[in-house]
Symmetry: C2
Subunit: 80 residues, 2 copies
């Protein structure tokens, strides 16, 4: 079983990395790109778990390990 | 309109960052997590484009700017 986890800066937090990419795209002629936000994406491979167990385990991992709750938020999905 | 772009290391390329997270999870008791791969996730906001234009523009951006084709691969989705 696999889990996908997305970790993004909260929308109220400035994303300088995304802004740099957006400006770089503009200078390359991609002027219709108005905003870029960059986040992290994790693929976790899980073994020997029911879907429900995977759900609560991955939620705990995303919350406690992968996300800085002061500035980031997460969402996740159990796949396969 | 928004686009989502995922950039991951190719599966043939070692992911030391993911391995470090996997070991850290193991030492925290999450021993059923057998593998972790970390990638990048981008949200692009596009303006004044048809869905088809957005598709080809985002594909070009993902390919030429966001991905290092030697070690990475991408996929993308036009949303909204």
């Amino acid at each position: 079983m696999k889990a996908h986890v997305w970790v993004m800066l909260k929308s109220t937090v400035l994303d300088p990395q995304g802004q740099t990419i957006q400006r770089a795209l503009g200078s390359l002629g991609h002027t219709k790109i108005k905003d870029v936000r960059q986040g992290k994406f994790f693929v976790l491979a899980l073994d020997g778990m029911s879907r429900d167990e995977a759900h609560s385990e991955v939620e705990r991992i995303a919350k406690d390990v992968l996300t800085n709750p002061v500035i980031e938020e997460f969402r996740f999905d159990i796949v396969e």
